[in-house]
């Protein structure tokens, strides 16, 4: 009997960036026809390793063998020629083009000088039937769901003849139901002889689909084991380097008076249709209300209306009984609302400002810092030093530009700034996106601490685990409406997933009281 062929072998790969060793003498062996997981925290070096394999980075040391032959992968096109395809986390699709156009882009079948669209569509249909990837070849990318778009990305790599597919965090953007479908697709691909490398930090997925898992921590391979021989706790300990407590420890919530009350808010989205359809909800002091939902169901628009960045066409927002509907961001911020924005680079920080100036971005005009139009930089520096110490923000100095800090420390700094404003309502949008386990624990603790101090906390996240673990009550948003509110202790992913995809609408659908 012929032994199972090794399709990818990476030997002693070392890749250095200024100041850090991203990959330190990494060995990886992937067998034909398996689903191989690369597990590690953010910044562990798994994406770097795959970018080396895909030809985006050149390693300083080590060699790569594809189908047992040594190769030099100097660019993604070389990787393509070797049958390596990558499905990126952020899709690389042209929104205005059709599914077929996107798939054949760069490899168009031609008749004369024209693109032979008919044979392109046929080729796409053939692939999609073969691997069970249902898509409409004529639909435009902007009109199809995120799950569909991901299928287009997969088809793109297959069209280019990939035998080895790298999936970079493929489930981050999907609903629980779409994840089930993706898993099925991955099984189909393997059945047809493909090999899959899955980059992830989600243990459940590994247990569900993978054959082998290689754990990377701080640029080094910790272990490579068969999934059958391991369990989630063991994997988590190996990934983080210590025992991990998955449950967030917190006391029973003690909700008191209503702080935020959203009443029948309707607002237009960027595409010119209503993104919020008469949405209503309430957040009380001393509780965390989580908002669960698939990306693009009105979460961003809701935050924008609450913070004054988007105008509501009807309805009211009350903060402590005071009407703040369509007030300016400054007025709202000054009336006791703090906000940890979804995109910390775009909205949270001025990256080229020193940390000290970033810490007063919303309060520089207060008499504390502003003396007759001149800023008191001594006071600003003192304020920054205090917050940075209190929240353990690791920065070389308070005068270091925010850009130079790691994502986790940037986020800590934003939280320090927002919490320091002593708000009545704290809105946290995706507060742990892209952060490692340590930073996530820290941020969750801070949110719960705010709750215990009697603040109202509104948490928006696309990570169901986070919503379930941190929130006291969970509101599910679907197509700009709250379709149901459940107790976090009495629900599970299945129920939430169903509601998130509009499958289950709870009686009333209002504020759940």
């Amino acid at each position: 009997m012929k032994p199972v062929q090794t399709v990818v072998e990476m030997r002693g790969i070392t890749k250095r960036f200024p100041g850090i060793i991203a990959n330190d003498n990494i060995n990886l062996v992937v067998k034909k026809g398996e689903i191989h997981a690369l597990l590690g925290e953010n910044g562990a070096g798994k994406s770097t390793l795959m970018n080396v394999l895909f030809g985006l980075y050149q390693p300083e040391e080590g060699e790569i063998l594809i189908n047992e032959k040594p190769v030099k992968i100097t660019s993604p096109s070389v990787a393509n020629d070797l049958g390596i395809g990558m499905v990126h986390q952020h899709f690389m699709l042209v929104e205005k083009f059709t599914v077929t156009e996107n798939i054949v882009l760069g490899n168009e079948p031609k008749s004369g000088l024209q693109i032979d669209m008919q044979s392109a569509i046929k080729a796409v249909e053939k692939l999609s039937n073969q691997y069970g990837l249902k898509v409409d070849p004529r639909a435009k990318i902007e009109d199809i769901s995120v799950g569909m778009q991901q299928r287009v990305e997969i088809l793109k790599t297959l069209y280019r003849g990939a035998d080895i597919l790298i999936f970079d965090e493929p489930t981050a953007v999907l609903t629980p139901q779409e994840i089930v479908e993706l898993i099925e697709i991955m099984h189909n691909l393997v059945k047809e002889g493909k090999t899959i490398i899955l980059i992830t930090h989600k243990l459940k997925e590994i247990m569900a689909v993978c054959d082998t898992v290689t754990i990377i921590r701080r640029g080094k391979v910790i272990d490579s084991v068969g999934v059958k021989d391991t369990n989630p706790d063991d994997l988590a300990a190996k990934m983080v380097g210590r025992e991990v407590n998955f449950r967030v420890d917190k006391k029973e919530a003690n909700p008191k008076e209503v702080i935020l009350s959203v009443e029948n808010i309707t607002a237009m989205g960027n595409r010119g249709v209503n993104a919020l359809n008469s949405i209503s909800l309430e957040v009380r002091s001393g509780e965390i209300l989580g908002i669960a939902g698939v990306d693009g169901n009105g979460q961003s628009e809701l935050i924008e209306v609450l913070t004054g960045l988007r105008k509501a066409s009807s309805g009211r927002v009350l903060l402590k009984g005071q009407d703040i509907t369509n007030k300016t961001p400054r007025v709202i911020s000054e009336s006791g609302l703090s906000h940890i924005p979804e995109d910390r680079h775009k909205h949270g920080l001025v990256l080229d400002f020193p940390m000290s100036e970033n810490m007063v971005l919303e309060t520089y005009f207060h008499p504390e810092f502003n003396k007759n139009g001149f800023l008191d930089y001594a006071a600003i520096d003192k304020h920054a030093s205090k917050l940075i110490e209190e929240f353990d923000v690791r920065t070389p100095s308070i005068h270091t530009p925010a850009r130079a800090l790691s994502g986790g420390n940037q986020q800590k700094a934003i939280i320090a700034r927002e919490v320091n404003k002593d708000p009545d309502l704290l809105i946290a949008a995706q507060p742990t996106r892209g952060l490692d386990v340590g930073a996530i624990e820290f941020i969750h603790r801070r949110l719960i601490e705010q709750r215990d101090k009697g603040k109202a906390v509104l948490l928006l996240s696309l990570e169901l685990d986070e919503i379930i673990n941190v929130s006291d009550r969970i509101a599910v948003i679907y197509e700009g409406q709250i379709v149901g509110i459940v107790d976090a202790k009495q629900t599970d992913e299945q129920e939430l997933g169903l509601m998130m995809s509009g499958g289950k609408r709870m009686q009333g659908g209002g504020n759940g009281e």
């Binding site: 400054r330 000054e334 924005p341 775009k346 909205h347 920080l349 971005l361 800023l375």
Partner: protein, 356 residues
């Protein structure tokens, strides 16, 4: 002492200096290709600038408006805007001060400041038009400022022709003596070179630039909006108002520059066949100066010397005046393409690292 060395080996300093040297070398190559002697040409350029007290004074006269327009462009740039309109704001500053200088009869201590202030306000408002169009209608300021340059040119010419024309000449009447900001005493020291108080104003404007941007609450907002308008909006700043303010302050700098040209140098306004060009050179000055006030002053000195000294190059080495434009363009090119410059100065930087 170490601190001084640190400043002179800093990249922000080394890159422009290297760019200037590379620019001069490129100019030299162009001269050689044309059969001229570059060493002789540069020697006569320096000779022209420093050779006589009159010429040295005139070089300062040449430098002054460039500081103003350089500050104008740099200020807008600090707040995230491309002010291509310093030219037009400069012209509007000229015509406003001409109008005040001719129309009123006031004591000098009121008249001259009033004429300068008129130039500042007019230039500022001219800039604010572009700012307002961007804030209210989302029109790109590059396009509007370019259009406003032409409107300013023909509007100024019209005003001169319609109201202030000196009969039989292509220029306005003379402004009243009380509006003049010429520095008679200093002019005499420099052999009647046209020196004026505007040079001092230019230095003060640079100081104002620094204090406003880095010491005040408004400056904090302006810089935040310039670096990240999204985060600024989240933080509750009024981005649109800041855009208008930034264009107003930028236009004010250029407007004072224009006023000083009239009140300090010419004392009348010509009917212009083309743009005077100070605003466009201001873009280059701001670029070379890294959009810092001190950098703008140094950049303006360089440009002033090169343009004024170019005449000497023609006289001393027969090199056409236009060739200095090759040098200036090369300097700009090398500043913009700092990747190339860094390649040339790499050995220098590495030596510095080794020394530490």
């Amino acid at each position: 002492m170490n601190r001084v060395i640190a400043i002179f080996t800093k990249e922000s300093f080394l890159v422009p200096v290297a760019a200037i040297i590379l620019g001069l070398l490129t100019g030299a190559v162009a001269m050689l290709a044309g059969g001229f002697n570059p060493i002789q040409a540069y020697a006569s350029l320096v000779e022209k600038v420093f050779g006589s007290s009159y010429n040295f004074g005139e070089t300062i006269r040449q430098i002054t408006p460039l500081i103003f327009t350089g500050l104008s462009v740099a200020f807008a740039f600090r707040t995230g805007l491309f002010n291509i309109g310093a030219e037009g704001q400069f012209i509007i500053g000229m015509i406003a001060s001409t109008a005040v200088g001719i129309s009123f009869d006031l004591p000098a201590y009121i008249h001259a400041p009033l004429a300068v202030i008129a130039g500042a306000l007019a230039g500022g408002l001219w800039g604010a038009i572009a700012g307002w169009l961007k804030a209210a209608r989302g029109v790109n300021e590059v396009i509007t400022t370019i259009m406003l340059n032409w409107i300013a040119l023909y509007f100024a010419n019209y005003v001169v022709k319609a109201f202030y024309l000196q009969e039989g000449q292509q220029r306005s009447e003379m402004i009243k003596d009380s509006a003049s900001i010429s520095f008679a005493w200093l002019s005499q020291m420099f052999d009647s070179a046209r020196l004026h108080w505007g040079t001092l104003l230019a230095i003060l404007a640079a100081v104002f630039f620094y204090i406003l941007l880095w010491k005040t609450k408004s400056g904090f907002e302006l810089r935040a909006v310039g670096l990240n308008p999204h985060a600024s909006e989240y933080a509750g700043m009024n981005v649109n108002r800041n855009v208008v303010n930034a264009m107003f302050v930028g236009g004010m700098f250029a407007g004072i520059g224009g006023a000083c040209e009239i009140l300090g140098v010419f004392h009348y306004q010509s009917i212009m066949a083309a743009q005077p060009g100070y605003g466009f050179d201001g873009i280059a000055v701001a670029l070379i100066g890294g959009n810092t006030p001190l950098g703008v002053i140094l950049g303006a000195i360089l440009f002033g010397m090169l343009t004024f000294g170019a005449a000497g190059m023609k006289f001393g080495a027969g090199v056409p005046v236009e060739l200095i434009r090759v040098v200036i363009s090369s300097v700009i090119f090398f500043v913009a393409a700092h990747g190339i410059v860094k390649f040339f100065i790499k050995p220098l930087l590495q030596k510095k690292e080794g020394g530490n």
